[in-house]
């Protein structure tokens, strides 16, 4: 089973990271899921693949009533992001899934109907969770062509999807980055190969540099906090991406 860790709390406004399943089979990439709760309702960010649904569901249930989940935010369309959609919808058929308009007719292959999907336009949109305004921030081509981050201005947390992701060895399973230089080595190859556009990357770096971010939470690897957030943005800004030697 995965473990949960509250990374922000202010009254009933909470961010919970659902991470690190010791029972996960090695052939499945490790993923982080995040739960944002406010006013008794929850939004699950990148709920993960179908095969890890039992681990995510059971961990989430220890923190929060799963029937109070109002929706899902899918940063993009990959199977490790939301192939568990049908299972979550089985539990709560009214649940809505916020995703780029680009993928709204692709994701129903995982599950859901027309009424399930809330299409996010390219420029982004606000998503309300019981009055808490969360901002879908464009991050297109990083790596998916229809890609969004989710920003919580109150908590000063940016859920960055695959940006900032690191494929960590088993020996480095800490939830937070504690040594940036050592950590970033595990992120380099991932970013160089998965991210497709230098121009998109530059725009993203400019955009998020203007935001107040205490925690930058990727879907794989460890969370950047404090000064490491800007350190990561600078590192990413300087990297040449979209290159493969083939």
């Amino acid at each position: 089973m995965k473990t949960t860790k509250t990374i922000f709390q202010d009254g009933n406004h909470k961010w919970v990271a659902i991470v690190r399943d010791p029972a996960r089979p090695n052939h499945l990439i490790d993923t982080n899921e995040y739960l944002v709760t406010h006013g008794g309702k929850g939004l699950l960010l990148d709920p993960g693949g179908a095969e890890i649904f039992p681990a995510v569901f059971s961990a989430l249930a220890t923190e929060f009533d799963p029937s109070a989940l109002a929706g899902i935010f899918a940063s993009h369309q990959d199977p490790d992001i939301c192939s568990s959609l049908a299972l979550w919808l089985e539990f709560n058929p009214q649940m809505q899934c916020h995703v780029s308009w680009l993928w709204a007719s692709f994701l129903p292959h995982f599950g859901g109907t027309t009424s399930t999907f809330v299409q996010i336009p390219d420029e982004g949109m606000n998503i309300s969770l019981e009055g808490l305004m969360l901002q879908a921030v464009p991050a297109h081509y990083l790596h998916s062509s229809g890609n969004f981050n989710l920003y919580d201005k109150i908590a000063r947390i940016l859920f960055s999807g695959d940006i900032g992701a690191a494929l960590l060895p088993a020996s480095e399973s800490g939830l937070f980055v504690d040594d940036f230089d050592r950590h970033i080595r595990h992120a380099e190859a991932f970013h160089r190969r998965w991210m497709g556009s230098n121009e998109a990357k530059r725009r993203w770096c400019e955009r998020v540099s203007q935001m107040e971010i205490d925690l930058l939470c990727p879907q794989h690897g460890a969370i950047y906090q404090g000064a490491d957030v800007q350190r990561f943005i600078n590192w990413f800004d300087e990297m040449q991406v979209g290159i493969v030697n083939a």
Binding site: F53, P54, A55, F57, L87, E90, F91
Partner: protein
């Protein structure tokens, strides 16, 4: 359904695919019969009154070819239905397994309710598959009877060819080909009937 049945659905799917391949073979052969029957009609016309009976039988062969194709189209529809049921079953088995695992890790009344509903759905899939399997078997029996008729037509054509006077040899050759091709179809249908898919419930 239990997890032990997962491989059975996969095996069923493989068997259905093989049935479909055999049906495609029969359809291909029935097209061949149609062309052969057309040639036979022209030959009978050239042979004149001596081959009138052969001409009538050749027309019957054309009808046989069309009926066979319609029969095979109906079989293909049923095969599609079977593929659909087995695929849904496979998909549901996976989802049920994952929901069951979640319920074991974090028991929830709502999850238990979903699982009981899913068990009912599984029963319904199994019943649908049983029904389709029966229908497919019956449709195969019908096709078999049709081929028996084709065999009679081929034998009659052989007899009529003997009355073809100067055209007796080419007519005998054509009727021999009819016979051969009907036997080919019969062999396909026998193999279809023997499919282990029909041994299931």
């Amino acid at each position: 359904m239990t997890t032990e049945q997962i491989p059975q659905s996969g095996i069923d799917l493989l068997r259905i695919v093989r049935i479909n391949e055999e049906i495609k073979r029969v359809v291909g052969v029935s097209f061949k019969i149609n062309i052969m029957a057309l040639n036979a009609i022209f030959l009978a016309k050239r042979a004149g009154t001596a081959a009138r009976g052969f001409g009538v039988l050749s027309n019957e062969f054309r009808t046989f070819s069309q009926d066979l194709r319609s029969g095979m189209a109906a079989l293909t529809g049923m095969v599609y239905g079977c593929v659909r049921e087995v695929s849904l079953s496979l998909q549901d088995l996976r989802l049920t397994r994952l929901l069951r695992e979640a319920n074991q890790l974090a028991p929830q009344a709502a999850l238990s309710a979903i699982l009981s509903r899913r068990e009912q759905q599984d029963i319904s899939h199994a019943e649908n598959l049983r029904r389709l399997r029966r229908q497919l078997r019956l449709a195969l029996d019908d096709a078999f009877q049709m081929v028996e008729l084709g065999g009679v037509l081929a034998k009659s054509a052989k007899i009529e060819a003997a009355y073809g006077q100067a055209f007796a040899v080419p007519l005998a050759q054509v009727s021999g080909e009819f016979d051969q091709i009907v036997e080919e179809i019969r062999a396909s249908l026998v193999s279809l009937r023997r499919s282990a898919f029909f041994a299931g419930n």
